[in-house]
């Protein structure tokens, strides 16, 4: 009987459970359905492209050259925030390894252990629920996203427009995205109106039609298109920004707001709030940048054993790290006590 061991190094993201997709060898992490995210990209870049191509030349010459410059900076900021929100790890909690999960398992026949743990946070009792998929007691404010099949820390919501969950690690980028997008939409909307008003003031619609007979109807219809897109975007995005500003000032998540955790009869009992709007805003927006605990690009060793007697290859994955050296110290300590 002969056996062959094939060893290959894989990155940890290849072995992660959950329904995420990874790109750039684990550097980018998104949800599986990305269609709406592409739509968001298309709408933003498309509208801005039209604005830069058709409005900006006129406005730069007749009004102020700083207008397109500021628009470009704002557009770049919006894109940076969007990509940061979409591509980063929202704060996914890795699943418990068997030994950690076994802490709660009992042999069949006995009563199952309690699946709710009560903890006291700032003199408020909070129930921690057990997640059957991840085999952990969810930390406070964490929730399981069924779309991505992960528990996410400080889970806010799953945003299809961004193609990712919004959680502890990317909430501030999400908020800055909605805020800057509101500003960009208002900016483009305002200058579209200004453009149309200025053109009509400069000699009336008919005169300008005579000047540029071929292109003016096209330009006008494109401007109208931009105005429409901005108008509808405005209501939703500005509304969303307002809603999240309200949540931040109270230090609540969308998830908690929807469930009504700290409203109604529980009003004023949010144990995470500092009871001060400035402090709450500072914590959420200027707090520390939490690291990802997933280690997507870490290396694992995958050993596949193929033996002639058993044609099914058996694969074991292990992380041989510096614990090897520490293990030697453990062993040598036992040798010492023996001798």
């Amino acid at each position: 009987m002969s056996a062959v061991m094939i060893t290959r190094k894989v990155r940890k993201w290849e072995k992660l459970p959950g329904k995420n997709t990874f790109c750039c060898d684990g550097r980018v992490m998104m949800a599986r359905q990305k269609g709406v995210f592409y739509l968001t990209l298309f709408l933003i870049t498309g509208t801005c492209a039209l604005f830069f191509a058709f409005e900006c030349p006129y406005l730069a010459v007749h009004l102020c050259p700083a207008i397109p410059v500021f628009a470009v900076l704002l557009f770049l900021f919006v894109m940076a925030m969007l990509l940061r929100t979409s591509f980063s790890d929202p704060g996914v909690l890795p699943r418990a390894l068997p030994e950690e999960a076994a802490n709660g398992n009992v042999p069949a026949g006995q009563r199952p252990p309690p699946r709710i743990r009560n903890v006291q946070i700032n003199n408020q009792i909070v129930k921690l629920k057990y997640c059957y998929t991840c085999k952990i007691f969810r930390p406070p404010r964490a929730s399981h996203c069924s779309i991505c099949d992960n528990c996410v820390d400080r889970f806010d919501h799953h945003c299809p427009w961004v193609g990712n969950c919004v959680g502890k690690r990317n909430y501030r980028y999400f908020y800055l995205f909605t805020l800057s997008l509101s500003l960009l939409t208002i900016y483009i909307f305002t200058f579209d109106i200004v453009h149309v008003v200025m053109r009509s003031m400069n000699g009336g619609f008919l005169n300008t039609l005579k000047e540029t007979p071929g292109t003016y109807p096209l330009k006008l219809s494109l401007t109208v298109l931009e105005v429409l897109v901005c108008f509808f975007t405005l209501w939703s995005v500005v509304g969303l920004t307002g809603f999240h500003t309200y949540l931040i000032s109270l230090n609540q998540t969308t998830n908690e707001d929807i469930k009504g955790s700290w409203s109604g009869k529980n009003r004023g009992q949010n144990p995470y709030s500092h009871k001060n709007i400035i402090k709450n805003c500072c914590e959420v927006l200027c707090g520390p940048t939490y690291p990802s605990v997933l280690d997507r690009r870490g290396l694992l060793q995958e050993d596949t054993l193929i033996s002639s007697s058993n044609p099914v290859p058996q694969t074991t994955v292990s992380a041989h790290k510096h614990t090897h050296a520490l293990f030697l110290i453990v062993v040598s300590s036992f040798r010492h006590t023996d001798s």
């Binding site: 950690e100 802490n103 700032n122 952990i136 707090g287 520490l326 300590s333």
Partner: protein, 157 residues
């Protein structure tokens, strides 16, 4: 496959008897803090004060990383002004503290825990949920309970 052979030899000398999980302490909120309660499984293996010192030092490191104050505001505002591109070349304060924590745990393992047959796993490798302490037993001297790595809470010793 030399590494494979070494671990085979090592596994003959010491076996993993049990794992203890130090849970998070949420009494002050969601900041990272671990319980300092001394687990009963470690009673015969390590002094209570050494264990408590380790956990308290780790808690202090995490508190330092998550502190909201002048420096975190500065870092946040500066990063925001550069659309967070500055983090492509600069390390965040949290990452710097995590490196310090990793070094501290390595040091504690080398000096205190491994000589007592224990190994601490860095909490970041367990999603910052628990401090995992592995308890090893000397396979040469232990009797019939050696050889298996079952981790039920009621291992007979």
């Amino acid at each position: 496959f030399p590494q494979f052979h070494n671990l085979q030899e090592l596994r003959h000398s010491a076996s993993l008897a049990n794992k203890v999980f130090i849970q998070r302490d949420y009494s002050e909120g969601t900041t990272c803090k671990f319980q300092t309660k001394f687990p009963s499984e470690l009673e015969s293996r390590i002094e209570r004060t050494l264990f408590e010192d380790t956990v308290k030092t780790l808690n202090n490191y995490y508190a330092e990383a998550e502190k909201i104050g002048g420096q975190s505001y500065l870092e946040g505002c500066l990063a925001c002004a550069t659309a967070y591109l500055i983090f492509l070349c600069m390390e965040t304060r949290y990452e710097k503290v995590l490196k310090k924590i990793a070094k501290y745990i390595q040091e504690q393992n080398e000096k205190i825990y491994a000589p007592r047959g224990l190994l601490i796993t860095d909490p970041i490798e367990r999603g910052m949920r628990v401090i995992e302490i592995s308890i090893y037993e000397d396979r040469g001297s232990s009797g019939s309970s050696s050889g298996s790595s079952s981790v039920s809470g009621s291992t007979a010793r």
